[in-house]
């Protein structure tokens, strides 16, 4: 929920998210090698790069899901590394939203259960949560699958339900990893449109990982990652 931060963060200038010199290595491969960037509030930023370049890892670091081996990520001035697991979970619940490429809805729960879940966790009563969830499902034109289980709907429907779930709490930052990857063009467009509207209308910051230029074109600017590092922005002649 976009409430005033109860912990009163330090003013962070313009940057909502700031990453400094991130390094991350997985068992066999190096994902990030000294990456730094800044994302301002309300921006829609596309993270482009070939597969294996580390874009997903970057996203997970920025969202506080993975901790980098070295370097730090600051959100609204507070270093994520210094927060406890409980605090991070609460942060993600209240201020972040997530959309992945696939497999993100709880398969046993119905669509409406899935979308209402973050609201219920935040303390909303069952009836109110359901009403809110329903209105979002309607906005995304998936109201007819409200009582279907996640395993029983098409990929496009499931993805739209996932977007509804990400936006239902009115997050301050939305992280999307190839959100249109398993969608056809029209559905993909609907999803991107929604994400951009969320940014324009509510000031939500959107960080979007994609390898498609057409999707990246929805963003205000793009960041190119190659081999775990930022590709230098070419200077126009």
């Amino acid at each position: 929920m976009q409430q005033a931060d109860p912990n009163g963060s330090r003013p962070a200038g313009d940057a909502l998210i700031r990453a400094t010199d991130l390094h991350k290595r997985f068992r066999a491969s190096v994902a990030l090698q000294g990456l730094s960037l800044e994302i301002r509030g309300g921006e829609v930023v596309a993270v482009l790069g070939p597969s294996g370049s580390g874009k997903s890892t970057l996203l997970l670091c920025l969202a506080g899901i993975i901790a980098p081996d070295s370097g730090e990520v600051a959100y609204r001035g507070r270093t994520l590394g210094g927060l406890s697991d409980t605090a991070l979970t609460r942060l993600r619940r209240d201020e972040f939203g997530f959309v992945f490429q696939f497999g993100q809805l709880v398969p046993e729960l119905t669509a409406i259960d899935n979308v209402a879940l973050p609201l219920r966790l935040a303390g909303l009563k069952g009836r109110d949560a359901e009403a809110r969830a329903r209105s979002w499902l309607e906005r995304l034109d998936v109201l007819d699958v409200a009582d279907k289980r996640a395993g029983d709907m098409s990929g496009g429907e499931a993805q739209r339900v996932a977007v509804a779930r990400a936006l239902v709490t009115g997050p301050r930052a939305l992280f999307a990893d190839e959100p249109t990857g398993s969608l056809d063009s029209l559905n993909g467009e609907m999803v991107m449109d929604l994400l951009v509207s969320a940014a324009r209308d509510n000031g939500t910051t959107v960080v979007l990982v994609t390898h498609e230029a057409r999707i990246a074109a929805y963003a205000d600017r793009e960041i190119v990652i190659r081999d775990g590092k930022l590709a230098p922005v070419p200077v126009p002649a």
Partner: protein, 177 residues
């Protein structure tokens, strides 16, 4: 001027004859149509006038096809400048883009630099189109999508072309090594 720059690119490697230039151009950049002799010679003449190329030798009994052309330092500089400059995305300038990218790749310049540069230019145009599509009506959407898909296709081809060349280079180095 794509033909002129293409010829400069072909001459960067080593001096060539007129007929050789035509053959090479047709092979690599001609597509289904072959370029007319007249066009080649006019362009060659212009390049000479602009001091981009020079004549290294003339074979006896030679028309323009028998002349051996070589590239001048001015020409090299001009070619370099042209290659490094990303091509403005224009709907019907496919050929220029194609030429430029192939030349750049063949000449050994790093593939991802070319791709990144071109992508930035393309994306700027694509952003404009996306914005217009979002706020426009159906006809706008159709037209924008058309161009958007083509622009994306450009970028995907550049990436693939780069990968191919890099792979080939790697194979050559290992077999030589």
């Amino acid at each position: 001027m794509s033909l002129g720059h293409a010829l400069l690119g072909l001459l960067e490697d080593r001096p060539r004859h007129g007929y050789e230039l035509k053959r090479l151009y047709d092979d690599r950049f001609g597509g289904s149509q072959s370029v007319k002799f007249g066009q080649i010679y006019t362009t060659l003449a212009r390049l000479r006038r602009d001091d981009m190329i020079d004549i290294a030798a003339v074979e006896s009994g030679g028309g323009p096809d028998r002349k051996l052309y070589l590239i001048t330092p001015t020409g090299v500089a001009d070619l370099e400048r042209w290659l490094l400059e990303p091509e403005q995305p224009a709907m019907y300038a496919r050929k220029v883009l194609f030429t430029k990218v192939v030349l750049a790749l063949m000449s050994g310049r790093p593939a991802h630099e070319i791709l990144d540069a071109q992508r930035t230019a393309h994306l700027t145009r694509m952003r404009e189109l996306t914005e217009r599509k979002r706020s426009g009506d159906l006809t706008d959407a159709l037209a924008c999508d058309f161009e958007l898909f083509h622009l994306e296709a450009d970028l995907r081809w550049i990436e693939l072309a780069g990968d191919r060349v890099e792979r080939l280079r790697a194979d050559l180095t290992t077999s030589r090594g």
